[in-house]
C-alpha cells in the first residue's frame, strides 16, 4: 500500500494494529486504549511504535509519552471533524513532536493543503484515492496569510 509522505508517493511501512491482534515483528501503530493498557509490553516488544489518535483523544494526558513514538497517526473518521487540525498543530508547536505526523481515513484532497500547514507530513486516505492526482493539491495556494507550522511568520512580515 502507498501513501503520500513529504510530497511524494511512497510505500507505507507501518501496520495499524487493531486492539485484539497479536504483536507482529514489524513497525506498528496502536490505539490510545491499547497503549494505555499494554504500555510495558509494547515498549519491550522491540519494534518501532506509533500511536493512533482520534480527534477526541486527550493530547494533554499523553504528552509525557510522545517520545516513545516514531509516528503519530491522526485518525479522520469524518472529514468535517476539524479537531485533529488543532491536535496536529499542538503536537508540532507545543509538544515539539518532530517525527512523522500522518492523517489517515476520511479526509478530502481539498483539505491536504490545510493539513500540511498544521504540520501533517504524511497522508493515508481511505479507499482508492489516486495519490498522484492528489499531489498538486498540496500546492493549491502559494499565499499563506497566517503563521502556522509550515511558515513561522505571518505574511505581513514576509511581504515585499
Amino acid at each position: 500500500m502507498e501513501i503520500i509522505k513529504d510530497g511524494h508517493v511512497v510505500t507505507n511501512d507501518w501496520r495499524h494494529l487493531s486492539d485484539d491482534e497479536v504483536l507482529p515483528e514489524q513497525a506498528i501503530t496502536v490505539s490510545v486504549q491499547r497503549w494505555k493498557s499494554e504500555k510495558d509490553r509494547l515498549l519491550t516488544g522491540g519494534v518501532p511504535l506509533g500511536l493512533r489518535l482520534n480527534s477526541d483523544d486527550s493530547l494533554e494526558e499523553l504528552a509525557a509519552d510522545l517520545g516513545f513514538f516514531s509516528i503519530i497517526v491522526l485518525e479522520f473518521r469524518k472529514f468535517t471533524d476539524g479537531r485533529s487540525f488543532s491536535l496536529a498543530r499542538l503536537l508540532r508547536e507545543r509538544y515539539g513532536f518532530d517525527r512523522e505526523l500522518r492523517a489517515r481515513g476520511d479526509f478530502l484532497r481539498d483539505q491536504i493543503f490545510f493539513l500540511s500547514r498544521v504540520g501533517i507530513n504524511a497522508f493515508e486516505p481511505n479507499g482508492s484515492a489516486n495519490l498522484q492526482e492528489m499531489l498538486p493539491a498540496l500546492q493549491e495556494f502559494s499565499v499563506k496569510y497566517q503563521a502556522a507550522v509550515d511558515v513561522k511568520e505571518p505574511l505581513y512580515r514576509r511581504r515585499k
Binding site: 472529514f79 481539498d110 498544521v118
Partner: protein, 549 residues
C-alpha cells in the same frame, strides 16, 4: 479602502481556480454531493429552491464603485438582473447556474472580490459599523482591525473545519451599529484606565434558534494580542465545541454549558501558551491603518444655505432629516440610500441601480459605497453643498424613500419566495407593513422602530432583536407568524419577548398596526417605541392585539 497587493490578488485567483477544479470534479461525479457540500459552502454556494444561491463577500461592508459595477455585470450576465444585500453586509444572487459559478468567481477576482468563507463552518466575513471612520461618536476606526482579521482568518489552516459557522464583528463607536453582542466574537474598541485603546472581548452571542447575548470574557485586550487571543478562543472552540448536534455546535452553547468562568479560564490558559509567539506588530497595524486614512476632504464649513433648501422643499427636508446623518468633518454629511422602497423586496438592488449608484459614488463620495447590516447602502462622504443635487438623482433611481430607521425600513430575509428552509413568506409581510403607511406623517410620528422579519427560526432576518420581531411558523401547512417585542441589537442589546399565540397571514399586518396604536396611546412625551415597550411590558399590547378575552 484596503488595496490588494500581489499576494492578496494571487490568493483570490488561486481560490477561483481551485473552485473551478472542485466544480468540475463534482460535475464529473468524482466528488459526491456530501463531499462537495462543505467545499461549495465555504465558497458561499447554497443549493436553493429554484437555483443555487451565491453569497459574495463584501468585507466589513465596504465596496469600491468598480466592484459595485462588477456586481451589476454579474447580476445582468449570470442572474436575473438584481442582487440582495444581506444582514451580514454581503450580497446574494438567487439564480446563478452551478456551471457558471467558476466564471463568476473568475470575473469577481478581477476586481478583488470573491466568495471565500461567506458560508460553511469556518470564520465568516468580518462585519463592522457602516459609519466607521466618519461618525462623531467613534473612539477609533475599526476597519484596520477588520482587515487584519480578514487576512488572518482567510483560509486559516486550523480553523476551516469548525463545529459550526463563526462570526466576528468589531465596533469602534459609542453606539453599537455592528450588533457585536450577537456574534460568536464581538470586539468593542475601548480605553483602559491608562488611556490606552484596546478591545473588550465578548463571546457567545448569536441568533438562530437559540438566541443568546454574548458575555464579556476580557474587559481589555491590548492590540498586540488581538490575533493570539482570537486564536486561543477559536482553538478552545474547535477542540471542545459540540459536534454531535448541529444545533448545539455553536460557541454560545459551549460557553453556556461550561459557564463563563470555566470557558474564560480555558481561553486564558490557551492564550498564555501562545501569546508571546503570536504578537501582532504595531507597525503592521499602522501599515493597514494607512489604507483607511480619511479621503482628501475639502476644507469646508457646515453649509448654512442647506437649511434654506430644506425649508423650500418639504420632500427634500424629510429625506435630509431621515436619510442623512452628521459627519465628523465640517461641510460633509453621510447619506443613506434606502433599499426599502415600499412594495420592493427589502435589500434588493437591480443591475442598473447598481451601475447608477457606482456613478453617484464616484461623483459625490470618493468612489466608495458601504452596505449596512440593516440592508441599506451608504455614501459616507458627501459634501453638504451637493446634497440637493444628489437627492434629485437618488430620487430618480427610486432610492430616496425617506424612511431610514422608521417602521418601513424593515430587515427581511428572503423567506418562502427563495429559501428552501422557510416556513412562511417574509417579503410580502414586509410589503404589507409598508402598505400601512400611505401617510408619511403617521410613519414619522412613530419615530424609530426596528421591525425584523425571518421566514423561519434560523433568524436570517434578525427577528429576535427587532423592536418588533416577526417569525414565520408553519401550522399544518399554513403560514403563521409569531410576534416578539422589545428586542434590540444595539448597546442595550436584548432579546424580544413573545407577545402571545402566533397570528395568521391575514392578521399579521393588523396585529402590527394594533401594536403601533398601543404605542401611540401609551407613550410618554418623546418616548421611543422600545422605551415604551420596556416601561409598560407586554400586557397592553396583548390586550390590543388579542382582545381582552
Amino acid at each position: 479602502m484596503y488595496q490588494y497587493d500581489n499576494y492578496d490578488q494571487t490568493l483570490v485567483n488561486e481560490r477561483a481556480a481551485q473552485f473551478r477544479n472542485q466544480t468540475e470534479r463534482f460535475l464529473k461525479g468524482e466528488l459526491s454531493e456530501a463531499q462537495f457540500l462543505p467545499l461549495r459552502l465555504m465558497n458561499g454556494l447554497y443549493v436553493q429552491k429554484h437555483a443555487p444561491m451565491l453569497r459574495i463577500a463584501i468585507p466589513y461592508g465596504l465596496l469600491a464603485s468598480r466592484q459595485l459595477r462588477m456586481l451589476a455585470h454579474i447580476a445582468r450576465t449570470y442572474d436575473k438582473g438584481y442582487g440582495h444585500f444581506t444582514t451580514r453586509q454581503n450580497i446574494q444572487f438567487n439564480w446563478p447556474k452551478l456551471e457558471d459559478v467558476p466564471n463568476v468567481l473568475a470575473e469577481l477576482a478581477t476586481v478583488q472580490m470573491h466568495a471565500i468563507q461567506t458560508s460553511g463552518n469556518c470564520i465568516r466575513n468580518v462585519t463592522s459599523d457602516h459609519l466607521a471612520g466618519v461618525s462623531q461618536d467613534e473612539l477609533e476606526d475599526p476597519r484596520p482591525y477588520c482587515e487584519i482579521i480578514r487576512q488572518w482568518s482567510t483560509l486559516h489552516p486550523e480553523f476551516s473545519f469548525l463545529p459550526r459557522k463563526f462570526k466576528i464583528a468589531i465596533n469602534g463607536a459609542a453606539k453599537d451599529r455592528a450588533a457585536t453582542q450577537l456574534h460568536d466574537i464581538g470586539l468593542q474598541l475601548v480605553k483602559n484606565e491608562r488611556d490606552e485603546v484596546g478591545f473588550e472581548v465578548l463571546v457567545g452571542g448569536g441568533l438562530g434558534r437559540t438566541p443568546i447575548i454574548g458575555v464579556t470574557i476580557r474587559p481589555f485586550l491590548e492590540k498586540k494580542h488581538l490575533l493570539s487571543y482570537l486564536e486561543a478562543i477559536l482553538r478552545v472552540y474547535n477542540r471542545y465545541g459540540r459536534r454531535d448536534n448541529k444545533f448545539k455546535a455553536r460557541i454560545k452553547i459551549l460557553v453556556k454549558e461550561l459557564g463563563k468562568e470555566k470557558f474564560t479560564e480555558m481561553v486564558e490558559a490557551e492564550w498564555a501558551a501562545i501569546k508571546d509567539n503570536l504578537l501582532l506588530d504595531l507597525e503592521e497595524i499602522e501599515r493597514i491603518r494607512k489604507f483607511f486614512q480619511p479621503p482628501p476632504y475639502e476644507t469646508l464649513t457646515d453649509d448654512p444655505p442647506l437649511l434654506e433648501k430644506t425649508a423650500h422643499d418639504s420632500r427634500f427636508a424629510a429625506w435630509f432629516r431621515h436619510n442623512t446623518v452628521p459627519h465628523k468633518v465640517p461641510g460633509y454629511r453621510v447619506v443613506f440610500l434606502s433599499l426599502k422602497t415600499p412594495g420592493k423586496p427589502p435589500g434588493d438592488l437591480t443591475e442598473s441601480q447598481m451601475d447608477s449608484v457606482a456613478d453617484l459614488a464616484d461623483r459625490y463620495s470618493f468612489g466608495e459605497i458601504r452596505v449596512t447590516h440593516t440592508q441599506n447602502l451608504v455614501l459616507a462622504d458627501v459634501k453638504q453643498a451637493d446634497l440637493l443635487e444628489l437627492w434629485q438623482e437618488i430620487q430618480a433611481l427610486g432610492l430616496a424613500t425617506p424612511n431610514i430607521g422608521t417602521a418601513t425600513d424593515i430587515i427581511c430575509c428572503p423567506g418562502l419566495d427563495f429559501c428552501s428552509l422557510a416556513n412562511a413568506t417574509s417579503i410580502p409581510i414586509a410589503n404589507g407593513i409598508q402598505h400601512i403607511f400611505d401617510n408619511l406623517d403617521y410613519l414619522y410620528d412613530l419615530g424609530d422602530i426596528r421591525i425584523n422579519i425571518s421566514g423561519c427560526m434560523n433568524g436570517c432576518g434578525h427577528h429576535t432583536v427587532g423592536h418588533i420581531g416577526i417569525l414565520g411558523v408553519d401550522k399544518k401547512g399554513e403560514e403563521w407568524y409569531q410576534i416578539t417585542l422589545g428586542g434590540s441589537s444595539g448597546k442595550d442589546a436584548s432579546l424580544g419577548e413573545r407577545l402571545g399565540p402566533s397570528v395568521s397571514k391575514e392578521q399579521i399586518c393588523l396585529a402590527v398596526e394594533a401594536i403601533f396604536q398601543t404605542y401611540r396611546d401609551q407613550r410618554l412625551e418623546d418616548e421611543a417605541f422600545l422605551e415604551t415597550v420596556r416601561r409598560i411590558g407586554m400586557r397592553p399590547f396583548q390586550e390590543r392585539v388579542y382582545g381582552d378575552n
